[in-house]
Structure formats: structure tokens, C-alpha cells
């Protein structure tokens, strides 16, 4: 038998490769690929229409869609200003906020599990989620005096029935970026809840530390810790020029 020359094999392989590539190009990228999800569900978490301000990346919610075998949540979190957005397919979803999350009460079933809000998606939709916060921070005002930032605000107690909770503390946070919270700050001033004499006029003041690298502004925010609740409720973030 004659042995094929090396170049002969090479030629053959090249032909095959080209052929395979052509087939692959023609056959793929059509039937086997799904469209990406394109239906936008967005909105805010609100109390009487007013967005609830929370900490970045700390208050999650879950969407479930039944009917496709295993059930698992689509996980997402609320932004600082209480907004959320998810890209989904049309269909029926169940929306929950897991137990113990958020500075508010989420409705529960009799068995103590978080109750669901059913979301029927048929095209993009705006949906505000109504919850009961324990407190709201009203009229936050920030001012710069000398090297200090002062914040004053009013605290409104929303839940006053048997499940009402006390204020553990209030804090004024400063940060260099727009993400301002207990985890992200360059300076903070905390006052214990028991030291608040007049909830209608709470004042906090904190010195602006040396910023490195220097910048001519800071972001300020007020957070309220509710006794026995992990997540704080916040005021909107305010940019203050120094």
C-alpha cells in the first residue's frame, strides 16, 4: 500500500475543517438559541407612593415562576432609592421579600411565610410595591457650617400598633461616593434612640474628614436603625459641595 504524503493529509483536513465550519455556521445560531429576556419589570418599593430608601445591595427580593420543573428564585436587590428593575419573559411571577429583610413589614401568610404578590407580565410594566415601614424620615435638611455637615430631620412613626418597634439609633453618614451607608462611609455620627428628645426635630452634626484624594463635595445621608430589625431606613442621598 502506498503511504499518503503528509501534505495530502493536511489538504484533506483543511477541506474537512472548512466544510465543518460551513455546516456549523449554517446550522447554528438559529433554532437552538432563545431570545434574551426582553420584558422589563421595574418600579419602587413605596409607602403611600413615596419610595423607601434602603442600603445598597442589602434588601433583596425574589421572583418565582412555576411550571418549569425545579422551582428556584430569581434573586435581585433594591437600589438605594428603593427602585428595582428586572428583565424577564412574559408570564406569571410571584414576588416576595424574604422574611427579616428590609426596614418594613411585608405581609405574611398565617403560617408565617412571606406572602406573595402575583405579577402577571404581558409586556413591560411598572409596578410599585407597597409596604409598611416602621418609621419614615421626613424633611431631611443638610447644611455645611465650617468643617461640619449638619443634618436635621423629622421622624414619623408609621406602625403604632402592637408590632411597633423602638428606634435603636439614628446616624448621619458621609461618603465620597454616592453609596452611603453603615458599610460605606468616611465619617458618621450616631445618636441613640433613647437620647432623642423630640422626634420632630432631630439634629446630628459630623466633621468632614480629610478626603484623600481631595474632592470638593461629599454625599450625606441619614439612617435610622429600628430595634430588632437589621436593615436601616434612610433619607435620600444628598450631594453637598464643600
Amino acid at each position: 500500500m502506498k503511504i499518503k504524503s503528509k501534505t495530502g493529509i493536511m489538504k484533506l483536513q483543511t477541506q474537512y475543517i472548512i466544510m465543518l465550519a460551513t455546516i456549523a455556521t449554517m446550522m447554528s445560531c438559529r433554532k437552538d438559541n432563545y431570545d434574551e429576556p426582553g420584558v422589563l419589570l421595574q418600579g419602587h418599593i413605596v409607602y403611600k407612593g413615596e419610595p423607601i430608601q434602603v442600603e445598597y445591595n442589602q434588601v433583596p427580593f425574589e421572583l418565582y415562576q412555576h411550571g418549569f420543573g425545579k422551582t428556584g428564585p430569581i434573586n435581585a436587590v433594591f437600589a438605594q432609592d428603593g427602585s428595582y428593575s428586572v428583565l424577564l419573559f412574559s408570564g406569571e411571577y410571584r414576588f416576595i421579600i424574604p422574611n427579616g429583610q428590609g426596614p418594613f413589614k411585608w405581609k405574611q401568610t398565617a403560617a408565617g411565610a412571606p406572602d406573595t404578590t402575583i405579577v402577571a407580565l404581558n409586556g413591560s410594566q411598572e409596578l410599585d410595591i407597597e409596604v409598611m415601614p416602621y418609621y419614615m424620615i421626613r424633611n431631611p435638611r443638610f447644611s455645611k457650617t465650617g468643617g461640619n455637615i449638619a443634618g436635621s430631620f423629622t421622624i414619623e412613626k408609621i406602625i403604632t400598633d402592637a408590632s411597633a418597634r423602638d428606634i435603636e439609633s439614628v446616624s448621619l453618614y458621609l461618603n465620597k461616593t454616592q453609596f452611603v451607608s453603615g458599610a460605606d462611609n468616611v465619617a458618621l455620627k450616631t445618636m441613640n434612640g433613647s437620647d432623642i428628645t423630640d422626634p420632630n426635630n432631630v439634629n446630628l452634626s459630623v466633621a468632614v474628614p480629610t478626603l484623600n484624594p481631595a474632592q470638593s463635595y461629599v454625599f450625606a445621608r441619614i439612617g435610622l436603625k429600628i430595634a430588632g430589625v437589621e436593615d436601616r431606613i434612610f433619607s435620600p442621598v444628598m450631594k453637598i459641595d464643600l
Partner: protein
């Protein structure tokens, strides 16, 4: 015609040979697979099956599961650039520390079932093997309940019948207390089937079973007692949280199990006191394999067997290391300053005097003098030695005007003012900011770092064992349980023995014993042994200690010794040499508190971290599994 004869013969032979039944002919024993009866016929063989099960035990910190398992929780700074996330993240994920190895549970159950059926095994061997497997199973359930709370309690191998309906295999989570009860009752049931032999370290003994029981009962007791402080961390079905009324029962069991070891009925265990220097002695507990009455159950290693650990390679002092690496674990000042003074008082490391001026020391190590000997035994301090060779930890020169001359590489050289030639201006062990493997807090780890020649080289590695249970912890279990039962006197007695071994010879009295004292004693005695997370969890103080707030130096120095003291960022203490010819302090050492530059996050332990996340897949496969609280 002549050919007919062989054909007939062949036919006869064929018939004669082929007349076996098909079943007899085809049923040939495989030569490469043992049947259960064969496998469980010879004790040596059973031991080799059991060895695999021993190997699959899970430790939070282990010498073979990565140095980083020792490095978290602000007790140390990770001096490896690839692991900076440990000090840069702001919180732990809910999935962290989860374990759910029901494959292992199944193999343990199968072992128990098969060994029970084995009929050629001697009764004494069988008893011991069964007790060992039950010990391993109980210990792994203990590991699971520590991390996950109540889990499905599966005590036999489960078999799927391929009917298309697996719901009969879906078990709900047991109550948290039921898992602890199981661990405790198993320990009681098997303790007398296990050998009483303090020299048996790597296999289960009566001592190991009792040590497990005492720790498990103590954990359950404290969850019951302190769970009231975190009412949110509970589930209505008690898969998580234990009713407060059960606390005393558990503490009593913890105390009794510990007392059984202390009384000597499980063998002659004792505190390790083989070396005159108390600091060296403490370090040797973790190095001495041959003659160690303290260790009860260990994960063992052996040189040139393939089963060695590289922990020393990762953590040895960088200068003079046997490889171009090491130094990864830098204990934090948070931990270092919490070691008491010899008069039983807490105080910061005295780097400044009352009016805030720096104190100058003749020798680097003077600042650490007069403290708990466990400090020396746990941490390599500046000015101390490893392998008989001084470590070279110092951060630079301080000039007359307070400015600093230092270098950006190990042992860098520069010319000081008034001198003509360059001199070394920073130690060969650093600290150099953001330079991995240098002592970026000013400290290296000593506990578990093996000074044997070759232990720090990748080709040889180390054979020191990881101690899972040891006698001093049993004493502290007894002390805590006695304290919680209102027997502070007895608690003081146990604690004083452990403390005297560390040079704290002024005894604590009953009135000195407090919750804070108990918490503190476990922190310093058991540092870097995989206890801190579970201790802080069961006392329900983890969310207070790691509350996510950044720290200042003032925070760091206040309230040392308080159980709930914040510890969210690992600080360091850097030594500087004064260069000021003519000044009385010229050439002496002062110290500065620093936060390593790569520490940008602050540890936050959320309520959802108390029990690790159960994977969505597990819950989708078994809808009876309820999810953890606060996640």
C-alpha cells in the same frame, strides 16, 4: 474415515463440558471487586474502608484545606495579594461556611449496615469499628448543625425504587435541638465501645467521644441561653433556635462529659507541660507528636507518605524561608492586645505614655513583656525568633522631626541624614505596605507553624497534626458550663489550671468569672483553631463583634476584654527605630498603630449569617426543607 474419530471425540468433550446450567456457568465472581462480606471479613481491610471515612471528616480550619481558613474574622491580616478580598469585602455571603454532604452520611450509614451484617469479623473488632463509624457520623452531624442548624437526620442508607415518585425520600429538617441530642446520645452510646487510650490520637477513643459530647452540649446550651438576644434568628418549627428552658440540661451534660475526661476515666489526659519556657511550651502543644497528653483527637500527617500538609510553607516567616513564600497569616493587633497582663488585667500594648507621647524601648520585644505566655506561643512577635533565628520585623527609621525613612522592598537600603553610605531601613520580614508575605501587621503566626527543617519546603512539607479536640478546651468547656450553672467557684478552678499553664499564676476567684472572661479565655487559648466563628455564633454576639462599622485606633484600644467589643478590621503595630544622634533615645524603638492599606472593608455579620444558606437546588429537590431565617 480416519477423521471421524477426532470429530466424535470433540463432540463428546463439548457435550461433557457444556452440560452445566447457564446460571452456574455465567456466575463468575469478579476478581477486581469484593463483595460486602469479603470486604468486611478482614480487620485490616475494614480499617482501610474506615480510613477513607476518617479522611472525609470536615474541619472549619484544617492544615490541608488552605491557610485562608485560619485567616478571617479580623483576628489576622491575609498577607497574600490574591486573598485581599478577606479584608476588602464588607460582609460575608449567606452561603459561606455551608456544608451538606449527604453522600458522606450515606457512606457512613452503609458502612454501619455492612459491618453489622459481617459475620466473619471478630466481635471485639466489629464493636470498635461500628463505634468509630458512629462517632464519625455524629461528629459530622455536629459539624452540620453548627453551620446549618437542624438538618434531616438520616440514619440508614436510602434506596430509590425507580417508581418515578421520590417523595418518600424527602425528609424535613429536624429541630436544631434534635441534632444536638443525637450527637450527645451517640457519644454516650458508643463511649464504652471505644478504647481508653490517650496515645491513640488519630482514631476515635473514649476521650474523643466525650470531648465531642461536651462541646456539642455546650454549644446547644449556649444557643438555648443566648438565643433570646436574637429572637429573629429562629424558625417556627425550631429547625433553628433552641428553647431557653433546655439550657441547663445541656450545660449539665457538657459539664458531666468534661468531668469524665478530667477525672481520668477516659485515660490520662493532661495539660501539656513539657518545656520550662511557658511560651515555647504553648507552641509545642501543636508541634509535639510523640509525647503529648493534651491532644485527644487529631487529623494526622506523616512525612514521605503522601499525606503531608503545606501549612508551614504558606505561613513561615518570609526571611530565611525555605521557599520564596510564607508569612501569609499576620495576627492582628486586635488579638495581640487582648492577651492579658500577668496581673490578670487588660491593657493596650503600651506604645504611648499617659500623655500620648511615644514610649521608647531598648529592645523590640520589651513592649510585649509581662503578658500571657500564650501570646508568645501563638504569635511571632518582632524581636522574637523562629527556628532559632531572629525574625527581622521593623518598619523603618524615625528621624528627629518625626518623619519616616523606609523602603518599599524587603530589607531595602537608604542613606540616613548625616551618614555617607546606605543602610538597611526596613526589615527583611517587612512590614512593607501591600507587599505580600511580609508581616503587614508587624506579626507572624506561630501556632501550627512547624520549625522542623524541611517543613517549609514544598517538596517535603510538614507532618504536624491538626488538633480537633484537646484537653485545655475540655477544661474551658467545663468552666463555661459550670459558670452557666451558677457554679462560679468550680469554673474558676478549671480556668485557673489552663491559665496557670500560660503563666497567669494569680488565680481568678469565683467573683472574677464572668461571661466576658469566658469569652476572652476561649479566644486567646483557642485562637487559630477554628473556634472563633462558632463560639461567637452560639453566644449570639457575632453580629455585635462584626457589626460592619469601620474602626478607629481609639475604638481599638478601648474596652479590651469585653465580649462584644467591635473587631471589624485587623490593625497592626509597626516598630520604628529612632535616628536622632545625640538624643537619649537614639537607636531605640517606638511603635505606631496602623491599619494595613489594603484593609478597606469592615466585617459585617448579618443575622442571616447565623445559619448558612441552604442551596436553592436542595430546596427545589426537597420542598420539605424550610429556608433559613433572615435570608
Amino acid at each position: 474415515m480416519k477423521k471421524i474419530f477426532p470429530i466424535i471425540l470433540a463432540g463428546i468433550l463439548l457435550n461433557a463440558a457444556a452440560c452445566k446450567k447457564d446460571s452456574a456457568f455465567l456466575d463468575v465472581q469478579p476478581t477486581s471487586i469484593l463483595t460486602n462480606q469479603q470486604a468486611f471479613s478482614d480487620p485490616a481491610q475494614v480499617l482501610s474502608i474506615l480510613a477513607d471515612l476518617y479522611n472525609r471528616q470536615q474541619d472549619f480550619s484544617g492544615l490541608d484545606n488552605g491557610w485562608a481558613s485560619f485567616a478571617d474574622f479580623s483576628e489576622s491580616f491575609p498577607s497574600e495579594n490574591g486573598s485581599a478580598s478577606i479584608v476588602q469585602r464588607n460582609e460575608w455571603g449567606f452561603k459561606e461556611w455551608e456544608t451538606w454532604d449527604y453522600g458522606y452520611i450515606r457512606d457512613l450509614n452503609l458502612f454501619i449496615e455492612r459491618a453489622t451484617e459481617a459475620n466473619t469479623l471478630a466481635e471485639t473488632d466489629k464493636k470498635r469499628f461500628l463505634a468509630e463509624a458512629r462517632f464519625l457520623r455524629a461528629n459530622y452531624y455536629f459539624e452540620m448543625v453548627k453551620r446549618m442548624g437542624g438538618v434531616p437526620l438520616i440514619l440508614q442508607s436510602l434506596r430509590y425504587d425507580f417508581s418515578g415518585d421520590p417523595t418518600y425520600l424527602q425528609y424535613p429538617r429536624a429541630k436544631e435541638s434534635e441534632i444536638y441530642d443525637f450527637v450527645i446520645s451517640e457519644a454516650e452510646a458508643i463511649k464504652n465501645d471505644l478504647p481508653v487510650n490517650p496515645n491513640e490520637k488519630s482514631r476515635a477513643t473514649k476521650g474523643a467521644a466525650l470531648a465531642m459530647e461536651s462541646r456539642a452540649a455546650l454549644y446547644a446550651g449556649s444557643i438555648a441561653r443566648y438565643g433570646v438576644n436574637t429572637p429573629q434568628v429562629s424558625l417556627p418549627g425550631l429547625e433553628v433556635s433552641i428553647p431557653a428552658s433546655m439550657a441547663n440540661g445541656y450545660y449539665t451534660k457538657a459539664l458531666n462529659a468534661a468531668k469524665e475526661i478530667i477525672s481520668g476515666s477516659a485515660g490520662a489526659y493532661a495539660l501539656y507541660k513539657n518545656k520550662p519556657d511557658l511560651g515555647e511550651n504553648f507552641a509545642s502543644i501543636f508541634l509535639d507528636k510523640g509525647n503529648n497528653p493534651e491532644s485527644i483527637w487529631v487529623e494526622d500527617y506523616k512525612l514521605r507518605s503522601g499525606r503531608v500538609n503545606g501549612f508551614t510553607v504558606s505561613t513561615q516567616p518570609r526571611y530565611g524561608a525555605e521557599e520564596e513564600e510564607g508569612g501569609r497569616i499576620n495576627p492582628s493587633l486586635n488579638l495581640v492586645q487582648s492577651f492579658e497582663k500577668l496581673d490578670n488585667s487588660f491593657a493596650p500594648i503600651p506604645h504611648t505614655d499617659g500623655s500620648g507621647n511615644p514610649v521608647y524601648y531598648n529592645n523590640l520585644s520589651d513592649i510585649f513583656a509581662g503578658r500571657d505566655a500564650r501570646l508568645y506561643g501563638t504569635v511571632i512577635l518582632p524581636g522574637s525568633s523562629f527556628k532559632g533565628r531572629p525574625v527581622d520585623i521593623w518598619a523603618g527609621y524615625q528621624l528627629a522631626d518625626g518623619s519616616i525613612v523606609t523602603g518599599d522592598d524587603r530589607g531595602a537600603q537608604k542613606t540616613l541624614p548625616g551618614q555617607s553610605g546606605p543602610v538597611q531601613v526596613v526589615g527583611f520580614d517587612g512590614p512593607v505596605s501591600a507587599k505580600e508575605f511580609t508581616a503587614q501587621t508587624g506579626f507572624y503566626l506561630r501556632k501550627y507553624v512547624d520549625p522542623t527543617p524541611g517543613a517549609g519546603s514544598r517538596g517535603t512539607n510538614s507532618e504536624i497534626p491538626f488538633i480537633r479536640y484537646r484537653y485545655a478546651e475540655v477544661m474551658l468547656n467545663a468552666a463555661e458550663a459550670a459558670f452557666e450553672l451558677g457554679q462560679a467557684d468550680e469554673a474558676a478552678g478549671y480556668m485557673n489550671q489552663v491559665r496557670a499553664r500560660a503563666g497567669l499564676t494569680i488565680p481568678l476567684t469565683a467573683t472574677d468569672i464572668s461571661f466576658d472572661r469566658i469569652v476572652h479565655e476561649r479566644r486567646v487559648e483557642l485562637a487559630f483553631e477554628g473556634h472563633i466563628l462558632f463560639d461567637k455564633k452560639r453566644w449570639r454576639i457575632a453580629h455585635l463583634v462584626w457589626d460592619g462599622n469601620k474602626m478607629t485606633a481609639a475604638d481599638l484600644l478601648s474596652n479590651i476584654g469585653s465580649a462584644t467589643k467591635r473587631s471589624t478590621q485587623p490593625f497592626g503595630l509597626w516598630p520604628y527605630r529612632l535616628h536622632n544622634p545625640g538624643n537619649a533615645n537614639h537607636g531605640k524603638w517606638s511603635f505606631r498603630i496602623v491599619l494595613p492599606v489594603t484593609v478597606t472593608g469592615a466585617n459585617r455579620f448579618r443575622l442571616g449569617n447565623y445559619y448558612s444558606f441552604i442551596d436553592d437546588n436542595i430546596r427545589a429537590n426537597n420542598p420539605k426543607i424550610v429556608r433559613q431565617p433572615n435570608q
